[in-house]
């Protein structure tokens, strides 16, 4: 999916919401357990309930891998339930030496058909390049993450800048604004301007709104560019809006609420 196509969907839906499918098989509403594949059934209903309000879906690989083969089956099925006009993100945080990253790229782009994959930058250029070899596929590189541990290395000095700034600056020579996005946590609002000073035109995947406490309006104020340039993720606040039989209705309402806020912000900053 191209950058233009993503922006088109944002304008059509008046939303830059990404729904994170961090589906915990031990936290499903009880009435779903009678299904052959309860994780898939949960995802199918979440996707159906939220697709009009979001432009992207982001399965978190850990939640499928921890159920082994069964989890992988649920993931494959869930992907087939995502409409073609939604951008798909494999939240996998992969990255290894070249021949190994090539295998991960094959797994996520060819076999599972994801549009994008999150990649960790620590191993440098040749660990990221294999993911950039696919046309219209995306690397979403970790820059400044939403968690406390981001202070351990990402916010430490690296020469005369901070490490996440070096990552942003260095990695821009590896790919373009049409093949790379960056992860920047919504909990890092104070740093968003620094990110935009280095990467004004890139799309940013922004986790941390909702359960992690980040602010949507601050994110938009500091992070939005002329093509919106933001995909803001919410996972737990949508998936677990209710643990009962009405989980999909409540997810629908929660996604609509976020879309309505986003619609106002898009009007405010893009006019």
């Amino acid at each position: 999916m191209t950058r233009e196509h993503i922006f088109e969907q944002i304008r059509l839906k008046k939303s830059f919401l990404c729904v994170g499918l961090d589906t915990d098989s031990t936290k499903l509403p009880k009435h779903l357990l009678k299904h052959e594949d309860p994780v898939y059934e949960f995802n199918r209903q979440i996707i159906e309930a939220t697709q009009e309000y979001c432009v992207a879906f982001k399965p978190n690989l850990a939640f499928y891998e921890c159920d082994g083969i069964k989890g992988w089956q649920s993931l494959e099925r869930s992907l087939r339930a995502i409409p073609f006009n939604c951008f798909t993100i494999a939240d996998a945080k992969r990255g290894d030496i070249g021949n190994t990253s090539t295998m991960y790229a094959k797994a996520f782009f060819e076999n599972l058909g994801f549009d994008s994959v999150t990649v960790a930058p620590y191993m440098g250029r040749d660990s990221v390049k294999p993911f950039l070899a696919y046309a219209d596929k995306w690397v979403i590189l970790l820059a400044l993450t939403s968690n406390e541990g981001s202070a351990d290395f990402q916010l430490q000095a690296s020469g005369d800048e901070l490490l996440f700034e070096k990552v942003l600056r260095t990695s821009q020579t590896w790919g373009s604004t049409d093949s790379m996005m960056y992860v920047v946590g919504a909990t890092q609002a104070a740093m968003m301007k620094k990110v935009r000073a280095i990467a004004p035109d890139h799309f940013l995947l922004v986790p941390g709104v909702g359960a992690q406490g980040g602010s949507l309006s601050e994110t938009a104020a500091n992070g939005m560019n002329k093509q919106c340039g933001l995909l803001v993720n919410a996972s737990r606040s949508i998936l677990y809006a209710s643990s009962g039989e009405d989980f999909a209705d409540k997810a629908h309402a929660e996604a609509k609420k976020l879309r309505d806020e986003m619609s106002v912000l898009l009007d405010k900053y893009l006019g």
Copy 2:
């Protein structure tokens, strides 16, 4: 598996060899393709042929994930073929926010039963901690990797040290020498003394001997400690020593050659 148990195996086998199971399903000897699960059959024969000369096996997750459910099945079967006295490493380079790392830990330690998993440090303490919550299981944290891209960030200044030094120093407050190892590439011989200055007692997982060109004798000279403290990995040079029907015999010979070199080095440095 405890540190003492690993050292005991090293002394018994006179080897600190780890065999990397980076098994590429497209590069298997042709005569194996008649088997129902050729990747498993290949691994089974490699494990049988090399187990007397190695103390660890390291499946590289990318090579299984890229075959989806079939790959996951091959991985599970291959793990069951590894003798109980061999240390197992999930080479997965994972690491995410706490609740997600918890899921990865469950996947690798509980469901697959690995002794250890490789973890990327970029997201900091709370991304690593969940893996350290298991007794007798190990985090193998990326410090200084064997690839060219290690120069992009790991070898850059971070305050008055290099980033990999900061990773080594900071992460030592997260776990002990009984729960953490570090990845240090054999191609980084010049830096091995710096690693040992900060982490004298930790075990190091050392990739990069063989296909990547690192030196075993330099690694031992600069990296060995009084409990050996090294697990040196070889993958392609063993797995693909022959592409014919004699692949297991050739793998056996290649593993024996490395073990014989290691035996001399153990005598030299540990007496």
